[in-house]
């Protein structure tokens, strides 16, 4: 049960980020830096199926987190969080076709090691 909920928490968060990034890339950057353009861009996201799917994934992650809290101390979640960083970077490269060069990979390695130590 713990492993399943952990997978929901981390997987939901990673899936939510990937779906939201895909939604916003399709939609494109706001027309200008004016506040109105920013708000219009946010409002438009709610008409975007990918964005709505990301909200569902985030919600699943949050519910999983609450369920996990109800019977486990959450400190053990941390290594899974670090694993989420690795998976999300890899999936951004594979699924979203982002350019992740040696320098960004090296940075990712340092960040993941650091998150393990700090959190």
């Amino acid at each position: 049960m713990t492993a399943f909920l952990l997978a929901v928490v981390v997987g939901g968060g990673v899936a939510g980020d990937l779906l939201k990034a895909h939604a916003m890339r399709r939609q494109g950057a706001p027309q200008s830096t004016a506040g109105v353009a920013m708000l219009r861009s946010l409002a438009a996201a709610f008409a975007n199926g990918w964005f709505l799917a990301s909200l569902a994934a985030y919600s699943a992650s949050f519910v999983g987190f609450l369920a996990l809290l109800s019977f486990r101390d959450v400190s053990f979640v941390v290594p899974a969080t670090a694993l989420g960083y690795a998976a999300e970077t890899l999936l951004a490269r594979v699924v979203l076709s982002e350019r992740v060069g040696p320098r960004r990979w090296a940075g990712a390695g340092l960040v993941i090691a650091g998150v393990c130590l700090i959190a």
Partner: protein, 133 residues
């Protein structure tokens, strides 16, 4: 890096870190949640809305979500994800400064590794498609 990208990254990092700290502080004032039944959770949620710290924390997390969403329309997810891990460093520093928390050697090492990692990632092009940033 464009100043717009820099500004949004700063808002994402600070509003998320400070929002979580403030929300946690407010929720501790609400008291322990004794039961995780949906009704008990709903009651706690309603009660917590009367706490100004909870409201401020929630507002900051809403700001985080809006800025994070907009940022992803022109910056790579792999860039945003890794650079915003600076939030861990900020939380550790805020905890030490305001809550008197100790920073152990392991945490200092973590702070160092994350900072080094973020400076490496920060030196890469924020957008693969080259648009906007």
């Amino acid at each position: 890096m464009q100043s717009k990208t820099r500004l949004f990254l700063a808002v994402v990092i600070v509003s998320n870190a400070v929002g979580n700290v403030v929300l946690g502080y407010g929720m501790r004032g609400i008291g322990d949640i004794s039961s995780y039944s949906p009704a008990a959770l709903a009651l706690s949620a309603v009660r917590s809305l009367g706490n100004p710290w909870v409201l401020l924390g929630t507002a900051l997390l809403a700001l985080f979500f809006a800025a994070h969403t907009l940022l992803l329309s022109w910056v790579d997810l792999s860039y945003v994800l890794l650079v915003t891990s600076l939030g861990y460093v900020l939380v550790a520093v805020l905890g030490a400064a305001f809550l008197g928390e100790q920073i152990s050697m392991a945490r200092w090492a973590g702070i160092l590794l994350i900072s080094a990692g973020v400076s490496l990632v920060g030196a890469t092009a924020p957008s693969s498609s080259g648009g906007g940033a």
